[in-house]
Symmetry: C2
Subunit: 202 residues, 2 copies
DNA sequence: ACCTCTATCTTGACACTGTCCAGATAATAT
DNA sequence: ATATTATCTGGACAGTGTCAAGATAGAGGT
């Protein structure tokens, strides 16, 4: 290892190639279409080659999820600088849009495959924790600015509101609610329920 | 078929035995531990025997989910006769408790395994639709009684509130939120956000 | 230059999975 | 008794994740 990480051996840049191909496979057919063997095949290496870059299939999934968190972070951070009045709705819509444009990645990021059945990587746990903490901080700010109710702690409001947001995304992503036209409307009702006074409500 | 369905052949009552054993396997190790082969093995029949009672693995999962809906219905219906003041909170707590006591079944009932990846049975679709309709009807009643806001239609309120409830259950069931002590507290915050005026809020 | 070390990649093998297919068995209908 | 039909069995196939042992080849030290 001279300057970079550990690439440029036989294949050239297997780690990145694998991650890219895996994300592609995931997008094409969900997590059940993403097999280690197909992945190796697509990249053009043998069955076991990926195992020198990812300990497990779980490890690979965690890496994809982590990548997803970073991407999401990029999308959401744009909303936080907006003026308070429009920021919340923008945030929610951005969150929803991300979950729709990256259905399978979202499923991995918050799915039981990793968090319950498998075992989340240390770095994945950290990234997700940071993301959630930023949400709590933001809720706190909105409470200070009297946009959100202060009846409950910022943590509790953050948890329950995120539950709503997450639940909504899941219902659509999992194929339970089907009409995508309703999504925005439901989201508005949801945000409405968070707001402090009826006077602000639209 | 003389009087009952189609049992009492070689095994006696394979359909029910399979359903029971499958639910048991599910409870023991989640959906990934429930394999058709292990199931057949546990019941004491050959690999392919279950396929004469369930077209598919998907078909079996749908049957378990359907059974779950009926069980849930039984739990929830007890809350609807309660006086309005306490009914909502009781409903929510009952819903949450069910999802905790039947983690894997709940996952099947509202998971992508069936609704997106697989294909829900016609009867499963119907049962779930009826369950949701009862929720909407109840929301409507609570709106009439001024417990819930009438800013949005009963359908929208039902959708967004259920999203919250479902999202909360998922976060815990999928292993994202871990501290079960927080659950009730978050649930209260959630219900709080649904209520019409601050005067009613606790 | 060579030799060693270690990272990288390959192949064989194993124990699983869902389920198609062809046959065996047994209960029911005629 | 015979025919039909429901039920059950075992063989086979194409998948899966991954352990273990070996091949290859680039890097570092002499």
């Amino acid at each position: 290892m001279t300057s970079n990480q550990k690439q440029h051996y036989h294949h050239g840049d297997l780690y990145k190639s694998l991650l890219d191909a895996a994300t592609e496979l995931l997008r094409e057919g969900g997590v059940e279409a993403l097999s280690m063997r197909k992945l190796a095949d697509r990249v053009g290496v043998s069955r076991m080659a990926p195992y020198h870059h990812f300990k497990d299939k779980n490890d690979l999934l965690c890496a994809i999820a982590e990548q997803g968190f970073r991407l999401q972070e990029g999308c959401l951070s744009e909303c936080e600088v907006l003026p308070t009045a429009t920021a919340l709705e923008a945030y929610v819509l951005t969150y929803i849009r991300f979950s729709q444009e990256h259905v399978e990645t979202y499923d991995l990021m918050f799915g039981r495959d990793i968090w319950k059945t498998g075992a989340p990587t240390e770095s994945l746990k950290q990234v997700s924790k940071v993301t959630f903490k930023r949400w709590v901080d933001w809720i706190e700010r909105l409470q200070r600015e009297r946009v959100l109710s202060t009846d409950d702690s910022a943590l509790r409001v953050a948890q329950s509101s995120w539950a709503g947001l997450h639940g909504l995304c899941r219902l659509f992503n999992d194929g339970i609610y089907l009409n995508p036209e309703d999504l925005e409307s439901i989201a508005r009702t949801l945000v409405n329920s968070w707001l402090e006074t009826t006077s602000i409500k639209r």
